[in-house]
Symmetry: C2
DNA sequence: ACGCATTACTTGACACGACAACCAATGCCT
DNA sequence: AGGCATTGGTTGTCGTGTCAAGTAATGCGT
């Protein structure tokens, strides 16, 4: 027999679904308008900008951005065509490809970061109390634990304990 | 001067971003595999199945699914081609189009609902304590308040107060 | 009652992601 | 050392979403 959702469960789920449907579009639009990159492209550039030598292997980049490898391949190629990233085979393992942020890519991240940060603050962070921010961390961790138990797809952060 | 995110804010944001990136895919896959519909298509059918006479105007459907009108137009057309929905001009206002769930569509929702429910439980609801579910509701409401202040895009639920 | 703005949607072109097939380098096993 | 599975990544095709433009009915102002 199926256990239906009670009111509390339904309320939580419906709102989460609405957030998942709306928030990505809002953030995407801001970045597109102001800096001509998608939200995902921005994450790619941002992760590279924080990496040693501004360089990461494709697989590492995929994990840090929660993206699949084919997706990353396409995205990085487009970024390369635009001169924001360069690719070169890894010397240690010639199967692997390294992606490095160019100066132009670095400049774009620097220019885009403040506006994006404001958007994230405006639609998420500043809408929440400090308590809610901590709650959100716990909730998201619990969900990620179910969705990606091994953390393969979200090596971006250190999960609690 | 830009206010950067502190540790607490960053932790919350990074995890929310990962959830937004991963969760839709997980739910999509389950529905595709088991019932050959996308998550968005499922919401469309589900909203219709709860509406009086299983019928809604396109605009109302868009609001309830947090989708844009062009998107809905495409999706409903595809659903119509598959015989799950039928469209007919609204008698009262001939600009408007009504979408009604067919018997086949109704059957699909009935068949798909239990599996989808299990997926939602498995990846979200059962991962959270009752307390966290209430927290999530509050957090999502706060975000939606910023992202869609007038509630145009999320007429699906009654927001608090 | 005429015209213009608005509402409600549809359509077409383009961009992006997913999936599957593919290729190349590596490393292990014997 | 030869063979085979595995790892790491790219490519092509297809489905789907978005955006901009277009159409048609409505309603409001004068």
């Amino acid at each position: 027999m199926t256990r239906w959702l009670d009111d509390r469960e339904m309320a939580a789920w419906v709102r989460l679904a609405a957030v998942m449907e709306l928030l990505p579009g809002v953030l995407d639009q801001q970045l597109r308008r102001d800096s001509d990159v998608t939200h995902f492209e921005y994450w790619v550039l941002a992760m590279l900008s924080e990496a040693p030598d501004r360089t990461l292997r494709m697989t590492a980049l995929a994990a840090r951005t929660s993206g699949t490898l084919p997706r990353l391949s396409h995205v990085v190629k487009r970024l390369e065509d635009r001169g924001l990233v360069e690719r070169f085979p890894c010397p240690q393992d010639r199967r692997a490809t390294n992606a490095r942020l160019t100066d132009a890519g670095w400049a774009l991240v620097q220019q885009a970061a403040p506006g994006h940060l404001e958007a994230v603050r405006g639609s998420v962070i500043d809408a929440l109390t400090p308590e809610q921010q901590e709650q959100l961390r716990g909730i998201a961790d619990a969900i990620l634990e179910r969705v990606d138990p091994d953390g393969h797809m979200s090596a971006n952060y250190a999960r609690e304990s």
